[in-house]
Amino acid sequence: MELLDQLKDSLQKGESEQVARFTKQGLSEKIDVRTILDDGLIAGMSIVGAKFKDHEIFLPDVLLAAKAMYVGMDIIKPLMIKEGIPTLGKVVIGTVHGDLHDIGKNLVGIMLKGAGFEIIDLGRDVPAEKFIEAAVESDADVIGMSALLTTTMPVMKKVIGLAKEKGIYDKVKIVVGGAPLSNEYAEQIGAHAYCYDGVNAVDRVKEFVKA
């Protein structure tokens, strides 16, 4: 099996040590960092995302694959910085104020990172102001908000209001997601997109950075 296939394969199985081994081997064999990233780590994670979407695999498999992916990314990161390889874009993510649920948000972060985005994860129970501050500070392309509780959904509206107030609403795209959300609700509060799952989030965010 070719090295990159082995890398993709071990990433899908969540074998962190193997991913580290093949990534290092790739570098020592002078495979381009970009190729290792795109055709190894990102390609592997994309298969994981597709299988998850089709319910062939479940959350634990995705989390294990993500851990393996992070191991590989950490190895190539210094080289990416050195060679000035840009990420697809910057996304600030977080679970809104009052909400302590972060499984969904983490999954979206994994999928975006796995697709080549830089993620600024604010964690959970994030105050509205924090989303805006972080987006301005990091010059983010997209803000992603998550809520699991029906009681915390209205906080999203507050963040969007604040984005308008601070004049970044036209510059930074705002996407929302979470179990109780819907397209209608996202439209109602003025979000730029509703993402129904992590894979969908990648598709929507990609549209925004391309545009």
Partner: protein, 294 residues
């Protein structure tokens, strides 16, 4: 009072209660507030809700201790008040419920993911359940609910913890399943067949499902549980996925709509039926009618 399991054994269908969280929200619980602390701060509201469900005909009333696992309470900085919050949950409704219905203590997920895919040791989750349950059963209770579980591994830890500290109290273990084109699975990928088998092996007395995304899927889940388990089955569906209208939440499924599906569950031989998020005393009253007229 005849014991809970005995009545089920005699073929009686028992009626649970309805939602607690959404009832508390209507009574002013704010986003981000820990619902369980109301056991101490607003016990009169829990007593009121228990009375409403008793009047509606519930045979089982559950405590407001769903989020009482130490790892969960820790997130609200209530690390030092675990026993106090949990035992207050029983105390708040004990006098109202005693002699009229069975008192069930609710234990929900701890909010952490287990190793290796998560970062929490299974031992810490187990210890947490033992601590929570210790405070709950110390107050004298009839049933233990291990509910809304999405990870079978965690559900098994909860059931085993319950059986280790109070083997005489019946344990009802229920999980939440999503519909996929390949069948029903929990978020973590556990099937109904697997859940039914392993929960029984861990010592559960009753298995089943609660929450979910509407009673029509729940009927299908109920059918599968009946197919895969010899144990009594408990089903507590929510009233569909909420719709937001002008910042107010509305659950779409009416008492009549749900009661019609409760009838199908009676046909399937489901033993305990109740409601979850969005169900009200009106829902429970109409389930009561359906069960009594069956």
């Amino acid at each position: 009072m005849v014991s809970f399991l005995e009545r089920i054994g005699n073929g009686e269908v028992l009626l649970g209660d309805g939602a607690l969280g959404t009832m508390l929200i209507r009574r002013g619980l704010n986003a981000g507030e820990c619902p369980d602390i109301w056991n101490i701060e607003r016990p009169e509201l829990l007593e009121e809700i228990a009375s409403l469900y008793l009047d509606a005909g519930s045979d089982i009333i559950s405590t407001n201790t769903f989020g009482g696992h130490p790892l969960k309470l820790e997130q609200y900085s209530f690390r030092d008040r675990i026993e106090e919050i949990n035992s207050a949950g029983v105390k708040a409704i004990k006098n109202t419920v005693k002699g009229k219905a069975y008192l069930a203590v609710s234990c929900g997920p701890c909010g952490k993911l287990i190793k290796p895919y998560g970062d929490t040791d299974p031992e810490d989750i187990s210890e947490g359940y033992i601590k929570q349950l210790g405070a709950l059963v110390g107050e004298g209770v009839d049933i233990i609910y291990i509910e809304t579980m999405i990870d079978l591994a965690e559900a098994l830890l909860g059931v085993k913890a319950a059986k280790s500290i109070a083997p005489e109290i019946p344990v009802c273990a229920t999980m939440t399943f999503d519909f996929t084109p390949r069948g029903f699975f929990t978020v973590m990928g556990n099937s109904i067949e697997q859940a039914a088998k392993e929960l029984e092996e861990a010592g559960a007395d009753v298995v089943g499902s609660n929450c979910g995304n509407g009673i029509e899927n729940m009927v299908k889940i109920a059918e599968e549980f009946k197919k895969h388990s010899r144990l009594p089955v408990l089903i507590q569906s929510n009233a569909g996925l909420p719709i937001v209208k002008d910042d107010i939440l509305e659950y779409p499924e009416t008492p009549e709509f749900m009661a019609e599906r409760v009838k199908t569950m009676l046909d399937l031989g489901i033993n305990i039926i109740g409601g979850c998020c969005g169900t009200t005393p009106q829902h429970i009253a109409s389930f009561r009618k359906t069960i009594d007229n069956y």
